[in-house]
């Protein structure tokens, strides 16, 4: 794949815009303005940047280069701009280049994963996906943001270190590795010859688990990334690649081995030479055991023998055989008891168990299968038949070992990623000072409730916006430490008095927000009043004896006329404003705004 990798040397012979961008110190004063000027020298660069950073059709995404710079900061925008400029200039020079096919897939996948997990900045993930193949040294030379450089620095992803400073880099690094798996799957048509389907299956399954999506949603997710990928090709004037469907891939990769793949795997194994198995042979008759042992060894298997069931069980637990071939009739522990005992152990559950039966025992074979026997051969056995049966068993053994290995890899990745995402998700969704959910979380909740409310006429949605009265005066009088203590106390009281379905979050500053699921305006108003009076009654000792604060509360319910969540928040903001205007320490609902204003 080295021929499709972007060439690090591009930087030195890069078109003027890219080298100009690289030359801008992202931390210098005026970097943002300088970046904007440099970016605008390329006609399409601004719109590509905005598209890369924001979701298509996301009204909250920045609409101009300046707002993009304000939201993400100069270092991230610069990284994104450098990556895009390198890509665009090369595509312009060669309309059939495939160099950026993979980085684009990785960038779009990383951005989508980032959004799905609700962790990190999608714009940053996009930039990382686009430029990571240049390597950490080159990116450091280019003064790329530290978290991007660290994310691809060896070791950053290797060990699970969770100290706060590295969380960003580690999170990005994990996102990138999942994005690489998705990109591989997207590119399947281009590199079909060398694809390891089993590995791809494992990886896709790991990504699905990490994203916590069911099969259908994962398929939609994958399709979305694929569509973006094709769109970007069109946008850059490149030949549009065919986007594979996930279901189609899974049929190839077999997911975790559905029937079709088992059949295919069986076919491939049956044509491959028979490899030696570790076999435990058990028979109480020494001549039979000798003949069996010799037959197995001659076929290239490794054999250990036991002359009764008890010895066999003990040896099996020590040597971990892949197959056990045992005589049925044995003194003390017979073949069936041995099989049952093995099946009860973790180790013996996957062992291939072949039972040797005497003539006349065939009528009891159902009993043997019930005990967990995989296959049987009648004695005296024909060596060729025994080996053929064993070969069949070997396919089962190999498949089982592959499935087990796959499962372990998936579980390990999921466990690691799960721990990380939970941690990051909590961090990303929690306000550090008050430990209430933060604005980001409140918006996620609001989005979810908005969707639920919009799809059901019987599920009203209201929000409560809360602003601490005269908070500036608290800060000015007592200092910021006391101000912080007040915020914490208010948060505590809000949390304690919020009921089921009312989720309080800190929006920022002295502003709090409560999403009231399934509540109309008058119900939310009652909740608002409950919170207001609780705050009013609460004594904050750091404000002196009998000290305390009050809050102004604005309540608004979603109406069909509101185009989006922002409109609802704005409405609650209007209500808070009315409450302040009417003298503070009160609750005003949106429907009362006119009256209050008149009476005030």
């Amino acid at each position: 794949m080295s021929n499709t990798k972007p060439n690090p040397e591009i930087a030195s012979r890069a078109p003027s815009t890219a080298s100009r961008l690289v030359g801008i110190d992202p931390h210098a004063i005026g970097a943002a303005e300088e970046l904007a000027v440099a970016i605008r020298t390329q006609p399409a660069a601004e719109s590509l940047l905005l598209r890369a950073a924001g979701a298509a059709g996301d009204p909250a995404a920045p609409g101009t280069l300046e707002s993009l710079l304000a939201q993400h900061g100069a270092p991230t925008v610069r990284a994104l701009a450098i990556g895009l400029e390198l890509c665009v200039s090369e595509c312009r020079a060669n309309a059939h280049t495939t160099r950026w096919t993979r980085p684009l897939a990785q960038a779009l996948a990383a951005r989508a994963i980032c959004r799905q997990l609700g962790f990190g900045e999608p714009a940053e993930a996009f930039a990382l996906g686009l430029v990571h193949e240049f390597g950490s040294r080159v990116l450091a030379d280019w003064k790329m943001p530290a978290q991007l450089v660290q994310a691809i620095t060896p070791n950053a992803a290797g060990e699970s270190r969770f100290d706060a400073s590295e969380d960003d880099a580690l999170g990005l690094s994990r996102i990138l590795s999942q994005a690489i798996f998705l990109a591989e799957a997207l590119e399947v048509d281009a590199v079909r010859a060398s694809i390891d389907w089993a590995r791809m299956s494992t990886r896709l399954e790991a990504v699905r688990e990490i994203l916590e999506l069911d099969a259908r949603r994962f398929s939609t997710f994958f399709g979305g990334v694929g569509r973006d990928w094709a769109e970007w090709h069109a946008l850059l004037g490149l030949p549009v690649p065919r986007v594979p469907e996930l279901e189609q891939l899974q049929r190839r990769t077999g997911g975790i081995l559905p029937d079709e793949d088992v059949v295919r795997a069986l076919e491939s194994v049956s044509t491959s030479p028979l490899k030696g198995l570790r076999i435990l042979a058990v028979d109480d008759d020494p001549t039979s055991l000798k003949v069996l042992e010799r037959s197995l060894r001659k076929s290239g298997h490794e054999v250990v023998t036991a002359v009764n069931g008890n010895d066999a069980l003990r040896i099996a637990l020590e040597m971990h055989p892949q197959a056990v071939i045992a005589d049925w009739m044995m003194p003390e522990m017979d073949g069936l008891d041995l099989c049952k005992a093995l099946r009860r152990s973790e180790l013996g559950r996957s062992v291939f168990f072949l039972l040797l039966t005497g003539r006349g025992e065939e009528d009891r074979i159902v009993e043997a299968f019930d005990a967990g026997v995989d296959d049987y051969v009648t004695k005296p056995f024909n060596s060729k038949i025994l080996m053929a049966r064993l070969k069949g068993g070997q396919r089962v053994i190999e498949l089982q070992e592959r499935v087990e290995a796959n499962r372990r890899v998936v579980m390990k990745q999921v466990a690691e990623m799960g721990l990380l995402t939970r941690k990051l998700r909590n961090a990303a969704h929690t306000d550090a000072l008050t430990e209430l959910p933060n604005r980001r979380y409140a918006m996620v909740r609001l989005d979810a409730e908005w969707a639920a409310s919009r799809s059901s006429t019987e599920r009203p949605l209201s929000v409560i916006l809360i602003d601490i009265d005269n908070f500036k005066r608290v800060n000015d009088t007592y200092g910021h430490d006391v101000g912080d203590a007040v915020l914490k106390e208010v948060a505590m009281v809000l949390r304690a008095n919020a009921r089921h379905g009312e989720e309080a979050a800190r929006m920022g500053g002295e502003e709090f927000f409560v999403v009231c699921a399934n509540a109309n305006e008058s119900q939310a108003r009652i909740a608002g009043e409950r919170l207001r009076s609780a705050i009013e009654r609460h004594v904050i000792t750091s404000l002196g004896q009998g000290g305390g604060v009050t809050i102004s509360v604005g309540v608004a319910e979603r109406t069909p006329e509101m185009p989006n969540q922002d409109a609802l928040i704005k409405a609650s903001d209007q209500a808070v404003y009315a409450a302040k205007a009417a003298g503070r320490n009160r609750v005003v609902a949106l429907s009362e705004v006119g009256n209050v204003a008149q009476s005030a």
Partner: protein
């Protein structure tokens, strides 16, 4: 086990020579002693089994009887002692029904078969 292989005198009359050839083949070049080794094992083991069958019959230990007959059935089949294996099978089947009825009648036959087989095997052992 094929009747056509039972023609001729000596070993060929008592043993299924296909089984003997099979053992010789199984040993091959890297374990040419296998046939002799297996025959040795049989000759050492078989009398004990016959004794166990008789002991089981005398003491009414049907379980011992069944197990011994089963083992000897397998062992004799491994060296091509078809007739002995069949007698043992009949003994085993009776014993499996938790009875010893009729087994005593089969003992002389099994003894005779064992003697013949042992002689034939010893001639192969050389």
């Amino acid at each position: 086990m094929n009747g056509s292989n039972h023609e001729g005198a000596g070993a060929e009359g008592v043993l299924d020579m296909q089984v003997i050839e099979g053992l010789r083949e199984l040993g091959g070049d890297d374990d040419p002693g296998l046939l002799v080794e297996v025959i040795g094992m049989f000759l050492e083991d078989a009398p004990t089994r016959i004794e166990e069958i008789q002991q089981g019959l005398a003491t009414g230990d049907i379980k011992l009887l069944e197990r011994a007959a089963h083992s000897l059935k397998s062992a004799s089949a491994n060296v091509g002692a078809v007739q002995l294996s069949l007698v043992c099978k009949r003994i085993e089947e009776i014993a499996r029904r938790s009875t010893s009825e009729g087994i005593a009648d089969l003992i002389p036959e099994s003894n005779r078969a064992l003697t013949e087989v042992s002689n034939a095997l010893r001639s192969i052992q050389g």
